[in-house]
């Protein structure tokens, strides 16, 4: 027997497995976390047997100074890391794009390397490099005679904050560069030639042609990196553990602590939902803002 189906029906059937996957593996968890966040839930208990406390967990989150402090740090970290990654990534992309094809291939391979390293390994490498007693950086600074004794990269609050940012920039500039290389390749060669013949020197070409034509790619790359940075967890977990004190605690690492260190699933869930809402909100605002700038690519 032959079953005849209309095209939209077939399309729907093809999409169904992926759709189910998304529901089961993404949305179910979000909803479940939302439900947890409304209960006073300890990690050993079944949520159905625990008291329903309405938005008490959220109130706790918003009243906690730790929350506001970690929000401040997360925003600062995200801003600094993304901006620096854009600058470094753009530099690497431009350098790779304008050299010969052969050299460009090698540079691309070198650039992608930091991004390939698993985040937690990356954190461990930097933890060693920054280590006050055996770290390479301290050793170099002392050898050069710039300081008397190795700086306390991960225990001095200001240094710790910026060491974390530095490690993130080192790792994630590469993905920014790869993004931007794609954007650069999409600009027709004729446009550069036209600009050269039109009398534009390299800096003028970069400002007036390359950068504006790269803007749509830059905006998307910033969104991706920004969201990633807002959710940063593994780097903090491996590098500082949120310390010294709670200075380098991000929203995500705090949520993790509530879950797995303090075993407060209800409160941790409320934390997670707040982080989720903040990111969705920022992304939505950002997307609606940049839509106008995306248009000339059509």
């Amino acid at each position: 027997m032959k079953i005849r189906l209309r095209e939209p029906t077939i399309a729907f059937l093809f999409l169904l497995p992926a759709f189910i996957g998304v529901i089961v593996f993404y949305y179910y968890q979000i909803v479940q976390t939302g439900i947890y966040s409304l209960h006073n839930l300890q990690h050993t208990a079944d949520w159905q047997t625990q008291p329903f406390v309405w938005f008490k967990n959220y109130a706790t989150v918003f009243r906690s100074t730790y929350f506001w402090q970690s929000l401040r740090f997360t925003v600062y970290f995200t801003f600094m890391a993304t901006v620096l990654e854009l600058a470094v990534g753009l530099g690497m992309a431009m350098a790779t794009f304008w050299v010969s094809r052969w050299l460009g291939g090698i540079l691309r391979a070198i650039i992608i390397m930091p991004w390939v390293i698993p985040p937690i390994i990356n954190a461990m490498i930097w933890r060693w490099l920054f280590h006050a007693d055996v770290g390479l950086f301290g050793y170099i600074l002392v050898s050069l005679g710039l300081v008397d004794k190795p700086p306390l990269f991960l225990t001095e609050p200001m240094l710790a904050v910026h060491s974390v940012i530095f490690a993130d920039v080192w790792k994630n500039s590469s993905i920014m560069a790869i993004f931007l290389l794609g954007g650069l390749a999409a600009i027709p060669a004729d446009i550069y030639d036209a600009a050269k013949v039109d009398g534009a020197r390299s800096w003028f070409r970069f400002r007036k042609v390359t950068l504006p034509m790269l803007l749509p790619t830059i905006l998307v790359a910033l969104l991706f990196r920004g969201i990633d940075a807002l959710r940063t967890f593994d780097l903090i977990y491996g590098l500082t553990g949120g310390g010294p004190g709670t200075v380098t605690e991000t929203l995500s690492s705090f949520a993790y602590k509530y879950y797995f260190t303090y075993g407060k699933f209800g409160l941790g869930s409320a934390y997670a939902i707040v982080v989720f809402a903040i990111i969705v909100g920022l992304a939505a605002v950002y997307l609606s803002r940049i839509r106008r700038n995306m248009r000339f690519k059509e």
Partner: protein
């Protein structure tokens, strides 16, 4: 204003020779067209003159200055690209203003010159639009505007009309030629379209395989092609060629299906050469098609006829090969019918069968 001269230009891409010691002078104020099939090196030559490509050897002069070491942004040239290469993120105004702004010209003057240029090209209403909101013809005008706005010494045009539809192309061809005459700027124009080349050129340069085949005024190139390639490339439909054996004693040419007297202006050359074969070339417009036999006419079988309005393009089989003839529309032979071909000996071209070079006439 300035002329352009290239001397012994050599360009290699790896093992491929794109330009093989090309020497050429583009006269001041003239429109020179470089024409040839794709891969003949014409665009490479243009890009080297623009400075977008470095020559492997040889020199380029703009005016009297050798510019090999001068970057494109310091050569006083403007270029129009096949793709137009408009800046998609800029308005028409900003596109045209770009070359002026790159040279740090004052705001007031930029505005004045852009508006003047826009008026000249009929773009005044479109200045605030972005390229994506323009038609092909309008984009073409913007590209031209960007080239002429800063009054360069030389215009370089790389197939500027190829992306337009046929009708617009013919219109723009005339406009472009008029614009060039009005401005009097030395122009080097690259095209693969021989009709465009013929109609626009003050001087025509036919290229193949990185070598100049012939240069001269279009009429000169058309009526005295220097070899079979030029004969076949310039003129549409292409020249008919047929290999003939030579009877020097009788001054006759023998093709497989017919024979004819060798035109008297070639007799001396044929004798001196002493080879026994030659290539006979006749343009389709020089072939006369007759419905019935006449003295000296050659029989041919009709392969297909294509009416083109005021005339008809007839393809016929002669001696196992296809030949084309342009005839008046009152002759309407059917497929398979026999017709008779004649040609005026004054219109005949003879080429060496080994070198493909045209035989000298007296």
């Amino acid at each position: 204003m300035a002329g352009v001269r290239v001397e012994g230009l050599l360009k290699k891409f790896g093992n491929v020779t794109a330009l093989d010691h090309v020497s050429l002078e583009f006269e001041d104020g003239q429109l020179t067209v470089l024409v040839g099939p794709s891969g003949c090196g014409k665009t490479t030559l243009l890009r080297i003159i623009a400075g977008l490509e470095d020559a492997t050897g040889g020199s380029v002069f703009i005016g009297h200055e050798a510019v090999n070491q001068v970057p494109p942004w310091e050569r006083n040239i403007a270029m129009v690209f096949q793709s137009y290469a408009l800046y998609p993120h800029m308005t028409v105004f900003d596109n045209i203003a770009f070359p002026l702004r790159a040279r740090k010209i004052s705001k007031a003057e930029v505005k004045q010159r852009v508006e003047q240029t826009a008026a000249l090209l009929g773009l005044s209403e479109l200045l605030q639009r972005k390229p994506r909101q323009l038609s092909g013809g309008q984009m073409q005008r913007v590209a031209l505007g960007r080239a002429i706005v800063r009054k360069p010494e030389v215009f370089l045009m790389d197939e500027p009309l190829s992306n337009l539809d046929a009708k617009l192309r013919v219109e723009m061809r005339a406009e472009l030629k008029r614009l060039q005459k009005d401005l009097g700027v030395t122009t080097i124009y690259v095209t693969h379209d021989q009709a465009e080349a013929m109609t626009m050129a003050d001087k025509l340069v036919v290229m193949r395989g990185g070598v100049i085949q012939q240069m001269g005024e279009p009429e000169e190139v058309y009526s005295h092609p220097r070899n079979t390639f030029v004969g076949g490339f310039i003129g549409s439909p292409a020249m008919n060629f047929i290999r003939c054996s030579v009877d020097c004693a009788e001054a006759e040419l023998h093709a497989p299906d017919f024979q004819c007297k060798a035109p008297s202006r070639f007799v001396e050359a044929l004798r001196r050469r002493g080879k026994d074969s030659v290539i006979l070339g006749v343009r389709p417009e020089d072939l006369k098609v007759l419905a019935s036999f006449e003295e000296g006419a050659v029989p041919a079988t009709v392969y297909i006829s294509e009416p083109m309005g005021k005339e008809m393009l007839l393809t016929v089989e002669v001696g196992g090969a296809l030949a084309k003839a342009i005839t008046p529309t009152n002759v309407r032979p059917r497929i398979g019918e026999t017709v008779w071909l004649t040609f005026d000996e004054a219109c005949v071209h003879l080429f060496d069968s080994e070198t493909d070079e045209a035989l000298p006439t007296e």
